[in-house]
Amino acid sequence: MNFKGTLPTLILETLAHETSHGYRIAQQIKERSEGILDFKEGTLYPALHKLENEGMVESYEGMEKGRPRRYYRITKSGRGALTRDRAEWRELSRAMTTILGEA
């Protein structure tokens, strides 16, 4: 299942827990959604670059098992955006449940 436009929020949510690299971010989204939320991993990096351009995340070079990796971490402005996104999602979810729950 792929909800259009939700990937940036999912990335921010993942990074709010810990600093991570692209592959781990993708795996965590899939694992935490118990495999329900699926997306093509090639689209993860454009979304990460967009968030970086907007100042929501920042990246740095790190090492893992002797290999260089690009790590991403959430910024203060990213945490603010995540709080807003969470509130919007709760509203939307409540509205959808009200409508569909009655159907």
Binding site: G22, Y23, K40, G42, Y45, R70
Partner: protein, 221 residues
């Protein structure tokens, strides 16, 4: 031997994916995409092999997980610099370069702007209001190009206001110059505006993609 051949085939699959995904991207952007996707691919491949997949199956799965290369390319082009944008960033602002390349052009344009404003004033006093406005607008547009380095335009907001004022002044000048004949000359107007609007559009795209701290001075104008 067979394993080497299948690995080579899969690498070709990744190479072909990367080739499509980096189409029209600038050299630096291409290098960045290649590095992050290869890193991702290696981890995905390693993980699949740890899960019991054979080498060629792991290669196939890792490339398939990346999804459609054309879609990725479309998304990359929205966030990373394309070769056209990188070229524009290197070459800078061609209008400014054309003017600054010969010092006499600067003086001619500066005198033209002052002359337009002065004669506009004269015509206003003589009652030729329409002609006076045309000259004022022309003088302001040319004057704005020179005034930019002395104005507080090198901030995000300052630059935005400056560009807005410049466009309004330019459109006003064209409107005044052509007046009611504008629809008749629309083909000429559109051709002229297209030449100005296209690089402006590209610059807007670069502004969106680059962090403000990395903007060269000409990007504010």
């Amino acid at each position: 031997m067979a394993a080497t051949i299948t690995t080579a085939m899969a690498t070709t699959g990744l190479d072909s994916w990367l080739q499509q995904a980096t189409r029209c991207l600038a050299k630096d952007s291409t290098a960045q995409v290649q590095s992050e996707i290869r890193e991702h691919y290696e981890l995905a491949r390693e993980s699949a092999m740890n899960g019991g997949a054979s080498a060629d199956e792991a290669d196939r799965l890792a490339v398939a997980a990346l999804g459609d290369a054309k879609t990725a390319n479309r998304q990359y082009r929205n966030v990373l610099l394309t070769s056209r944008e990188a070229r524009m960033l290197r070459q800078g602002n061609w209008e400014a370069q054309a003017i600054c390349s010969r010092s006499w052009i600067k003086w001619v344009l500066l005198i033209a702007a002052a002359a337009a404003v002065f004669s506009g004033n004269e015509f206003l006093l003589r009652g030729s209001i329409m002609l006076a406005w045309k000259l004022f607008a022309g003088g302001i547009v040319i004057g704005l190009l020179f005034a930019a380095p002395f104005l507080p335009v090198y901030t995000r907001l300052g630059g935005r206001v400056f560009r807005g004022v410049r466009w309004v002044a330019m459109l006003t000048m064209l409107g005044l110059a052509f007046g009611p004949d504008a629809p008749k000359w629309s083909w000429l107007l559109f051709s002229c505006l297209w030449m100005v609007a296209r690089p402006e559009w590209t610059r807007a795209s670069i502004r969106r993609k680059l962090p403000v701290a990395e903007w060269p001075r000409h990007l504010y104008l």
